[in-house]
């Protein structure tokens, strides 16, 4: 197990480095640089050259990449080109709202998807099963942006029952005022519920048909106990894998949702950083997303292994 973890950790590190490198050169490939954007609509060449010099952008890109890499090795993510703040200081306040959104979404998503999937599987192909799958597929088909606009128009602007945006919120105030979270979380749920519910259902249908469940039935195990103790653990591994992918997808979905609902989270930092060519901040976020993705997938593999030790750990 330890060897496995070391190996997976090593692979994860390589993946993170590859992502960071790719993002750096992609950002370099964007037209213009931080100095040009900072000059705005007063693009006096002399002024741009001066800003470039002040920001150290006159050094070749390869050199800047290397110095960023050595900084990273010592845990230093560098400073924002736009504000001069250390990147960590700039990101810290934005992490709260984003983490709250992600955690609350997952906390609702998991029990909901499990309940829907298991109950649908018990009477597979019955009317309830069809209703669940029709609804989740339909919701999955609507792009986040459209869904968000629709929900705001109906629940906030027409009915006035929920706040239209989360302006001025912070991580803690989001938790204190659940109504602010209602619409953003609803949008994120609608998109992620479908795949997870279907996988739980499919896994359950297979498990309920399996030999060991029939064996348990013959020994008088019935009802909830049969479902939860005997069938579910074997049904879950594919769903857990899907959940890991959902976590990746959440990062992308959250970026759209944050913009529409004015949640002051990571996405506004990212959008600003890209449009102002603030490469150190873009890099830091790329590393952050990569770390989250690698960690979540590793965790998912470990959980699958615990749930159904017979299944080989995916490597």
């Amino acid at each position: 197990m330890r060897r496995y973890l070391l190996r997976r950790g090593g692979i994860g590190l390589v993946q993170i480095l590859v992502v960071a490198t790719a993002v750096f050169w992609l950002a370099e490939a964007l037209p213009g640089d931080a100095a040009v954007v900072a000059a705005g609509d007063d693009p006096d060449p002399a002024r741009i050259a001066l800003i470039r010099e002040q920001l150290g952008l006159d050094e070749p890109a390869s050199q800047r990449y290397l110095s960023w890499l050595t900084g990273l090795a010592t845990g230093d993510l560098g400073s924002s080109l736009r504000t001069g703040q250390p990147v960590t200081e700039l990101l810290a306040p934005a992490l709260g709202p984003t983490v709250v959104l992600a955690v609350v979404t997952l906390a609702v998503l998991l029990p909901l998807a499990l309940t829907l999937g298991v109950t649908a599987a018990v009477r597979a192909d019955g009317w309830y099963d069809r209703a669940v799958s029709t609804t989740t597929v339909a919701l999955n088909a609507v792009p986040e942006f459209a869904l968000a606009v629709l929900l705001v128009a109906v629940f906030a602007l027409q009915l006035g029952v929920l706040p239209a945006t989360a302006v001025g919120a912070t991580g803690s105030s989001l938790l204190a005022e659940p109504s602010l979270l209602a619409l953003p979380v609803a949008v994120l749920l609608c998109r992620s519920l479908c795949a997870l519910t279907r996988l739980v259902r499919a896994g359950m249908v297979d498990a309920l048909d399996a030999e060991y469940v029939a064996y348990a039935r013959r020994h008088g195990v019935t009802g909830g106990r049969l479902l939860l103790r005997h069938a579910l653990p074997n049904a879950l591994p594919p769903a857990v894998q899907q959940l890991a992918r959902t976590a990746d997808w959440l990062i992308g979905g959250i970026i759209v949702v944050e913009a529409v609902f004015a949640v002051p989270g990571v996405s506004s930092v990212l959008v600003t950083a890209v449009s102002t060519r603030d490469i150190p901040v873009v890099q830091a976020l790329a590393v952050l997303f990569a770390v989250v993705t690698v960690a979540v997938n590793l965790l998912a593999d470990l959980v699958c292994h615990r749930l159904a030790p017979r299944s080989a750990v995916v490597t």
């Binding site: 213009g32 906030a156 006035g160």
Partner: protein
Amino acid sequence: MPLPRLTRRAVLARAGLAGAGLAGAATLLGACGRGAADSAASGDQPRRGGDLAVAFQTGGSQETLDPHAASLFVDGARGKALFDKLVDLAGDMTPVLRLAETLEPDDEARVWRATLREATFHDGSPVTADDVLYSFARILEPDSGRRAAAQLAPLDLDASRAVDARTVELVLDRPVAEFATALAAFGAWIVPAGSEDFTAPVGSGPFRFGSFTPGGSLVVERFDDYWEGAPHLDTVEFVPVNEETARINALVGGQVGYAHDLSVTSARTYADESRVEILAAPGSLMHAFAMKLDRPPFDDPHVRAAFRLLADRTELVDTALAGMGEVGNDLFGKGLRFYADHLPQRERDLDQARDLLDRAGADGLSVTLHTAEAGGGLVDAAALFAEQAAQAGVDVRVEVGDADTFWADSFADGAISSYRSGVMPIATHIGNRLLSDASQNITRWQDEQFDDRYAEMQRTVDDDARGEMLGEMQQQLHESCGLLVWGFADWLVGTADGVHGVQGAPPNTLEWARFDRVWRD
């Protein structure tokens, strides 16, 4: 088919400000009278108390409260709440005295003497001549790239001095008759002498600092000892909302009482909505195509003249600005002080345009028009102009570039590109963009006689005489410069029901984002 126009209940800053006529010769307006017309319910008595949340775009802001580092609208609005300038500008760019109680030039417009009002900073200390000199020295620090530095550049700091605590003598290295408007430059705020740390800034503005989270909200509180009288509101909270959709939603949903910089689409959607009011400030944003005079085909004046006759300005305004604007006449500053409105409006004339192109030997001409989504209406206008040009057999190819770097790219490359500008005094526009050595000279307009005329204008203290010279210069520009000014867009902000005292005003002018005159039901 033209769209119905919105009714403009905004107070127009055309005939000077409410309660103050146009400035007479060599005198400046005093501070604008109290109780500026409320757009919705004039006659209502302002009520004291209440909080107001205001939504601005902050993406790309430095997120510092250092007023001299200001670069975006939100910086301007925050700065205005916390600080004062000596002078500000009315909607038509007439200087209005603020911290300065009097401002007098000598006969050569080289030495300007200002006396200060009895004003105090938020820490109780008086505003003095030393604070003024310190602030200007800080703005002019070399290599600091501070926004107001270009306009205050003529200041000779060594020669300038404090005559007494409330009198300051500002000496210039050249005559600048328009120096009052330079004192109103964006970012020319007065800070207490010695200020370096702006984490909890102290100013003399109508609101004192409450709390600030970089990237988040700024809360400011009423300053009871403000020289112009205490604001009505208890607090104003500036909340960052970068998406326009979210700004209008927050306003309609009642989460904010004021939303800055709304789109034409939002203005039309909510025109009849009782929960919000859309305020339009006409003439706020010039829209143009900039032709570079130093390269073909626009080095030929015939080609420039022809292009100006290709444009159907009314159609451009109705389509690209959805009718929320007015047509331009190839000159900057429609409606502003000293604007040459005696010049005839240029109309479309395809026959004459073809004739001019023939004479230039530019038959079957093909040019690339550079544009980008760097602002509302830019790409639409470029595409429409290309269609209009095609009707005269001129091939205009629209190339949409990167929005973030568009201004720098279009300044350096290409022969013709989309161009736009907010309001500023006409003399400032000429000084920044049309002199031979001007750093923002996108059209490469270079004319020695014109430069001399400008210098002479800056030596002329008499307003009427100066206006006449500016009129002649504009006539020359109207005939042959590189700007095809097709329209002026309204600037749109919104207020929630029950918020009073907000005026539609061009960005960065005195009445814009002026929350000390705002009250709530």
